[in-house]
Symmetry: C2
Subunit: 202 residues, 2 copies
């Protein structure tokens, strides 16, 4: 990766977009942030769809016409060669496992419950009970894993922790109570004390 | 990765499990397949949950107590160093993008619609209309990308193609009509003609 300034198209209140901002900050890599409001359908304009046909944020631009979508793919690309993505093949595999876990078993329930409650302000939304049930299952899996570990993989902070932190630390905004997950809460605290940590925009 | 025989816990009719079987076959790597029936809740037994606390298949076992979950993480691990995962950093990033796309924007709609129609035999399931709508959006994104390309990344067959093939080639079982996606159909044919390709169990 060259050292030119990358651009990030993102919505500041989005956990998926926050992941990219947090990693770039921790890597001390300069970046330009272009705010995109998904609630105003700014990801559905012809101009945006030309950059990302899937119409989602975040989107990384590393050069003219060089766009990369999917928050966790962006994390892998940016973290390559740093301490945030282990070089050991098995540890890398475990990082990947947790990144896919985050996008398949965690984000669709915990992040979307937050979106429905906080942004749509619709606590009677019919899918919320199922999202709540599945979200608690995801938190239980995390609690089990963190019961005997400081971080998700290899005893050190990695993009697996960063990705899972993004929506777990605001799970209460989706109606989740972390009181019964002490290992998760201790881990959240450890992640938030990592060098150059920044907060999600309020 | 050592050369001992790995074990795969999987359900033969599952596209996610088929991904692992297909890649191991194409890599000409011997493996032992342990059939696990999710419909009989065999992923919910204490024995299985001890191996994978998230209770899902496929699961790769590379040695005593060394388990890796998440189909696309398994693909990344197994394909490392082969032609199926490019060494070029940008092409790797694009492969990752499509793997996350598959798990977030494609599989939750196309694979689950297939599951509901074919295995649960419940065409009146209330979430099917939304899954159908989102599945067609996923197929449109693929059609757009493949309109000017032979394969998803770098002009060659990779685990991005393999992963997306798994449920796209049986999308009709989920009620999707691929007639309006000629580029997707031509790509499916190209993928199926790759060396050592095997079919999904009927």
């Amino acid at each position: 990766m060259d050292l030119s300034v990358v651009k990030v198209y993102g919505m500041s209140s989005s956990g998926n977009c926050y992941k990219v901002k947090l990693l770039l900050t921790q890597l001390q890599q300069p970046f330009e942030w272009i705010e995109v409001d998904t609630l105003k359908r700014e990801t559905r304009t012809p101009q945006y769809l030309a950059m990302n046909p899937n119409g989602k944020v975040p989107l990384l631009e590393t050069g003219p016409g060089r766009y990369l979508a999917e928050s966790n793919a962006i994390l892998c690309y940016l973290a390559e060669g740093s301490a945030y993505l282990p070089a050991n093949p098995w540890q890398r595999a475990e990082v990947m496992q947790w990144l896919f876990y985050e996008q398949y078993s965690h984000e669709p329930y915990i992040a979307t419950a937050r979106f429905i409650r906080r942004f749509l302000r619709n606590p009677d939304e019919p899918t919320l009970p199922l999202k709540t049930e599945r979200g608690y299952i995801a938190l239980k899996v995390m609690e089990h894993h963190l019961g005997s570990r400081e971080f998700f993989v290899g005893g050190a902070y990695s993009i697996a922790d960063l990705a899972l932190y993004a929506y777990t630390h605001v799970a209460h905004e989706g109606g989740f109570d972390l009181a019964v997950f002490p290992a998760v809460r201790a881990w959240l605290s450890r992640v938030s004390r990592q060098p150059r940590h920044i907060a999600l925009a309020a």
